[in-house]
Symmetry: C2
Subunit: 304 residues, 2 copies
Amino acid sequence: MNGAFLACDWGTTNLRAWVIGEDGSVGPERGFDLGVSKLRPGEAAARFRDEVRPAMNAHSLPALMAGMIGSTLGWTVVPYEDCPVGIDDLSRRLFRVDEPGPPVRIVPGVKGRGLAGAPDVMRGEETQVFGWLAADPERARGRKVVCHPGTHAKWILIEDGRIVRFVTAMTGELFSLLSRHSVLRTDGAGHDEAAFLKGLEAAEDGGALSARLFTVRARVVAGNAPAASSAGYLSGLLIGSDAAALPGLLGISTETAVELVGEPELCRLYDKALTRLGYRTAVHDGDEAVLAGLKALWRAGGGA
Amino acid sequence: MNGAFLACDWGTTNLRAWVIGEDGSVGPERGFDLGVSKLRPGEAAARFRDEVRPAMNAHSLPALMAGMIGSTLGWTVVPYEDCPVGIDDLSRRLFRVDEPGPPVRIVPGVKGRGLAGAPDVMRGEETQVFGWLAADPERARGRKVVCHPGTHAKWILIEDGRIVRFVTAMTGELFSLLSRHSVLRTDGAGHDEAAFLKGLEAAEDGGALSARLFTVRARVVAGNAPAASSAGYLSGLLIGSDAAALPGLLGISTETAVELVGEPELCRLYDKALTRLGYRTAVHDGDEAVLAGLKALWRAGGGA
C-alpha cells in the first residue's frame, strides 16, 4: 500500500541497507564500509547514488535512513525532535533531503532533558525503540525502560509508547580508553567471565568509580589476579556501576523491567549486571529493531 | 648528631635533591631530568653516581631516597611495609641498596587493604605524610585524613600518627585520558573557574560518573556552554565526584578535617570541592612535605 522503499541504517562505522517490498517483505541485507566517520564532507549524496543504489538495484526507490547520517558528519543536519516523542510525531517529521530523483528521507534524532541542566541527544536509537515498540502493541502501554548498551549507552524511559526522557552514559568509550591508553591497559586480553562477575560485585553502589577503577591494577600488581583477567574485571566494574546508578537517575526501581536492545553479547553482560540487582530483563536484537523501526516509521508516515 | 646526608625525592617524572647539613640546614634544591619513567633498566645506580653526586658535590655523603625509585622501574624493588605504619616502623626498614661507597637507602612504600579485597599501594606519599606529621606533634594525636591529589590521588587515614588505611583514585589520569583521547577532548583549553564550580555542582553524590561525564559534551553540543569551558567543567565533575564519595569509603564524615598535601593549585581545587560539601580543610605544600619527611625519617632512623 505504501510502496516499496530502500531502508538504511547509516551509522558512525558502517551502513546497512535492505530493499523493503510493497508487502513488507525484506530483501537481503547489504553492508557498506561507508560509516559517516569515514566520509569526506559533502560526499554522502554521491556515495549513496553511485555505490549504494546500484548495489541494491534500487535506482528508482524512495529511501528512509536512520542514524548519524543526520548529524554534522553525515549528509545534512536534521534537527532533533524534542521529548516526549511518539512514532506518529517522528513519522510526520521525516526529513527530506534536497536531492533530485526519488525522495530520500532521514529520521530525526531525539533531544531530551539530560543531567545537570544539559540536554541529551540520540540519533538512531529512537528508531530501535520504535521498532521494539512496533513488535507488540502491549509495549505501548504504561512505563517501559529500554537500555541500548554501547560506546555511548542510552537508558531510555518510555511512557505509553512515547520517549519521555533518557540519559547517555559513555560506558563503552570509557572501557575502550582505559583498556587501551591507561595504566589499566589490558593488552588485548579477551573477556574473562569469572573476572567480569567479580567486577560487577566490586562496582557496589556505582559510586567512587575513580577509586574502584584503580583496583583493576591493584589486584594484578598484588598478585591476586592474572593480568589476562583485567579486561573482564574492568568491564564488570563499568557495567555494574551503570546498572547500580542509571535506573535511579531515570526514577525507576526494580518494579520496572529493563528491555535490553542492542548487540547480543553486550546485552548479555548488561543482563547479568541487572538481574544480579533484582531487575527483570529481556534481551532483544538491536539490528532487528532498527529494521523494524524503519518499517514502522515508513508505514506510520504513509510511505513516500 | 646524625650527620649530613643527600636527600632525594626520586619520582616518576623527575628527581629533586638537597644536601642536608649535620645541623638540619637545607642546601639549595637541584632538579634532574631522571624520573624513573625515563631510565633504562639497570642504569639508576650509574646515573646517580655519575650525575647526581657530582652535581650536588656529595661524593662521600650517605643518601636517603623516597618515591618510585623503589619500584620495578627504579633502582631496585623495595618491599612494601604493611599498614598500620608509623614513622618508627618505616625508619627501621629503610632499604640499603647493594652499592659500594657511602650507604644509599630507599624509603619503602606502604601497602594497605584497598577496595574490593585488593591491596592498595603507595610509594612516595608516605614520606609526605610523615613530613606533614613531623611539622606539628599535635598532628600525631587522634584520627586525621590526608588527601594527596594527582594522577593517582591518595586518600589516607591516619590514627595516632600511623597510616592505617588508604584508597587510590585515578582521578588525574582520568582527566588526562578524557581530555586528550575521548569525545570530551578539550583541545588544550585552560582552566575555567566558573565551569569548574558548575562541574562540582553537577557531580552531586559521586554516582553515575559514566553518565555525568557525557554532560561535558552535551552542554557544548546543545550550545549551552563554550567548548573552551570543557576542561574546567570536566575537572569539576571528576574532583567533585571524588570529594562526594572518597571520604565515605574511608569511613570519615565532615567531623574530620581533610589535610590537602600536594601541588598547590591542585590542592586549591580539592579545597573548593571539599569545603562546598561542609568539610574543614587545610592546604600544605607537597614539595616541602617530602623534604620534611626525608629529614624526619633520617632523624628517626639514627642517620647513616
